[in-house]
Amino acid sequence: MTESRIADSKPMSRRTFLGRSAAGGLALGAPALASACGGGGGSGGKAKIRMWTWYSEQQALWPKVIKDFEKAHSNIQVENRIFGDTNSYLPALQASVSAGEPPDIFAPHVLAIQYGKAGIALDLKKALGSDFLSGFFPSTNAEYSDGGKQYAIGWMAQTFGIFYNTEIFTRAGVDVPETWDDFSSAAAAIRQKTGLVPCSLSNNPGPSGLDFFLPLITQVTDNPQLVLDLDMQRGGTTWNSPQVVQALSLVQKLVKEQAFGSGINGVTGTQAATAFYTSKAAMLYSGSWEPQGFRMNAPASFQSKYKVMQTPAWAAGKKHWCANQAGAGLSVAAGSKNKDAAIEFLKYMYEPARYAQIMNQSHSMPSTVAAGQKIQDPVLKEMTSWLIKGNGCPHILFGKGSSDSASNELAALIGGKKDPQAVAAGIQKAVHQAQGR
C-alpha cells in the first residue's frame, strides 16, 4: 500500500526540494531565533531572574525558597541553576560574561572586584545601602570591596580551624595547643606515641595551601589589612617583606618537623578529610564546611569523637587569627534588565529569620552577624564565635596573578625546593609578571 503510493507520487524536483528544505529550516529555526531576540523578559510579562552558583549545600532548600518568593512577588520568576563544582561553573560563567549575558545573580568566585571594575558586577553598596551591608562580618565585606564600592555580598562564610580527634589526643597525652610551638610539641608527641599523621593538610589544588599560609601573615603582624593590600599591591606593600618571610618560615619549620602528612602538595581536600575521619590523622586543618561532610561521609561513631580548636596563636597571649571570608558570595549583573528584581530577591533571601533558617538547615556558616548568633550546630557555633570576637582574617586572593603566584611558590617551599626568602621574592616577581598579561 505504502509502496504503491510512493511509486505513484510525483518525483520532487531539486528546486522544490531546496525550497521546502529552506522553509522547513526556517520553521525549525524561527522559535530559537525568536527566543534569542527576546531579551531578558520572562514569560507572561514577568521579570525573569537567572541565578547561577555552585552552592549545592542549599540544593534541597531552593525550590521552597523560590516558590515562596514567587508567591509573594507574582511579577518575578526565578530560574536557579546549581553547577556541580567550580570546575564546571567558572568556564560557564566566563562564557556568559564574554557573550555579554551574565546571569542576573551569580557567584563571582574570586572575580568580584575584577568584574566590578569592568562594569559587569553591580556596586551593591549603592544598590543595597550601607545599613544592609553593615550586618555582615567585616571580613566578608572587605574581600569584595575596592575603591569605596562593593561588588558582592557573602552568602556562606568560611572559617578555618583545626579539627581534632579527642581519642587520639588522649592516647598521645596532648592538650589543645595554644601557640604554634605547642602545636609542634603536640605533633611530635602524636607521631611518637601513636605513629599516626599529626595533622592532615591539603595543597592540591595549589591555592588550598594558601588557606593555611596567608593567616600566618596576619598572625605575624596583627594586621588583617596587610594581606588584602598585598593581594591588590596597594600602599607600597610587597610580598618579599620580612613579615611574609616570617610566616613562610613557620610553614617550612612545620613541614620539616613532619607535623603534617607526607605529599602535602598532592593531597586533595577530600583525601585530607578522609585521613582524619578514618583516624589516620589526629588533626585536620580545614574549613567550616567539614562538619557537613563528616555528617555525610564519616562513620556514625566518628561524630562524637571530634572537636574543633582555634588556629594556634603566633605567641602566648596573642590573638588567634583564623582564616575567614566568604568564598561563596553573590553578585548582581550591572547590565541586567532585571536588576531591580534581582535586588529584591537578594533582600528577600537575607531577611534575618529566613537567612538564619537557610543557613541552619543547610549546616552552613552564615555571613551575617545576626544569623551567626542563631547557629544551632555546636561545631559551627564554636567557629562562628571566633568571628564574633573579631579573629577572622583574609585567606582568599583576588588580585590579578596573586593566587597563582603565591600558590606556585608555596608549593615549592612545601616541596623543599626553595627557602622562605626565595619564595617571598618569587611571589613578588610572579605577581609583577602576571599583572602585565
Binding site: Q94, V110, G206, P207, S262, V267, T274, N408, A411
Partner: protein, 310 residues
C-alpha cells in the same frame, strides 16, 4: 560560430552554471559551518594571542608581548618540557607494546580473542572516568596499589604516586598506556591481517626463523600502520589534557603540568582560582597549534617515505 551554435553554447553554459549553483547550495551549510566554527575562531585566536584580554571587555592589542612573556615564563617551559616528554615516551610505549602484543596474538594463541577483548575494554571507558578511577587506585593513603604492594611485602615501594613529583608523570603515562593499549593493538592487528602470507612462506623456504620473519617482513610491512599509530600518538601527546586535568590538575608543583592544562588554567582559572588571562592563554594555544602542525608535517613525511619504500 553560427547563431544556433552560439545559442546552444550559451544554453549549455547556463545549464552548467545552474548545476554548479545547485551543487554550491548543497555544500553551503557545511561551508558556512566551517567558516563560522573553524576558520573564523582560528583566525580570531591568532588575533587574541596578540592582545591582553580577560575574556570580557575590549581586547587591548599588545603585539607580540604575550609571546615575549612566554619566553620568560618558567611554568610555560616546564609545561612544554613535560608535554614533549609525555609525547615522546607515550609514543614509544604506545607504539612498541601494542605492536608486540598484536604480533603475539596474531600467532594464533588459544584465547587470543578473549585477551584482545580484555585489552580493548579500557578504551571504551572515557578518559575522565579512567582518570578518576586511577586517582583512587593510586591514592597514597587508601589506594589499592599501595595496599597490594604492602601486602606482598613490597612496602618500601609504596608511594604517594600522584603527589610525588618523581612518580607523578610515570603514573599518568602508565594509565595512558593502560587506556590506549587495546586500541593501538587492534590497529596493528588489522594491519597484520593484510600482510601477504606468501611472503612468510618464501622466507621460510629461504631458511628464515620466526624472529627474522618478524624483523624482515612483519615490521617493514607494518610501516604504514606504524606511521598512523605514531601520528595518532604524537597528536594525542601534544594535546593531552583530560587525563592529567582529572588526575592531578597539573600538580604537584606543576610537575605534571602540560600545555593543555596550563592554558586551561590561564583561560578559566578554575583550578588555581586565578583571574583569567585569555589573551595569554591563547598565545599558549598558538604554540600547541604549531606543535600540532609539526606533527602533521611529520605524518606527511612518514607516509610519503613509506609509500616511496613500497
Amino acid at each position: 560560430m553560427s547563431l544556433i551554435g552560439a545559442i546552444r553554447a550559451d544554453t549549455q553554459r547556463a545549464a552548467r552554471l545552474r548545476r554548479s549553483a545547485v551543487g554550491y547550495l548543497f555544500i553551503l551549510p557545511i561551508v558556512g559551518f566551517f567558516l563560522a566554527f573553524v576558520l573564523y575562531p582560528f583566525i580570531r585566536s591568532f588575533y587574541i594571542s596578540l592582545t591582553r584580554w580577560a575574556g570580557y571587555g575590549t581586547p587591548e592589542f599588545i603585539g607580540l608581548r604575550n609571546f615575549d612573556a612566554l619566553l620568560h615564563d618558567s611554568i610555560f617551559w616546564t609545561a612544554l618540557k613535560t608535554t614533549l616528554t609525555f609525547t615522546a615516551i607515550s609514543t614509544i610505549l604506545q607504539t612498541l607494546l601494542p605492536m608486540l602484543l598484536a604480533i603475539l596474538l596474531n600467532a594464533g594463541w588459544r584465547g587470543g580473542t578473549l585477551f584482545r577483548t580484555l585489552l580493548f575494554i579500557p578504551q571504551v571507558v572515557s578518559l575522565v572516568v579512567s582518570g578518576l578511577l586511577w586517582q583512587l587506585l593510586l591514592d597514597g593513603n587508601f589506594g589499592i596499589v599501595n595496599r597490594v604492594l604492602a601486602d606482598v611485602g613490597l612496602h618500601a615501594l609504596t608511594r604517594h604516586w600522584l603527589a610525588d613529583t618523581h612518580t607523578v608523570l610515570a603514573s599518568i603515562l602508565a594509565v595512558s598506556l593502560w587506556q590506549s593499549l587495546g586500541f593501538y593493538m587492534l590497529i596493528f592487528f588489522a594491519g597484520l591481517q593484510g600482510i601477504d602470507r606468501t611472503l612468510y612462506e618464501a622466507a621460510r623456504v629461504d631458511g628464515a626463523n620466526r624472529f627474522q620473519e618478524m624483523l624482515r617482513i612483519t615490521v617493514p610491512m607494518l610501516r604504514p600502520v606504524t606511521a598512523v599509530v605514531v601520528t595518532l600518538n604524537l597528536i594525542g601527546g601534544v594535546k593531552v589534557f583530560e587525563l592529567i586535568y582529572v588526575m592531578t590538575g597539573g600538580g604537584p608543583d606543576h610537575s605534571s603540568e602540560v600545555l593543555g592544562t596550563y592554558l586551561y588554567g590561564l583561560a578559566f582559572g578554575s583550578t588555581a582560582g586565578s583571574i583569567p588571562a585569555v589573551g595569554y592563554a591563547t598565545a599558549v594555544s598558538v604554540v600547541v597549534f604549531i606543535l600540532g602542525m609539526a606533527t602533521v608535517v611529520a605524518q606527511f613525511w612518514m607516509t610519503r617515505r613509506s609509500r616511496n619504500v613500497y
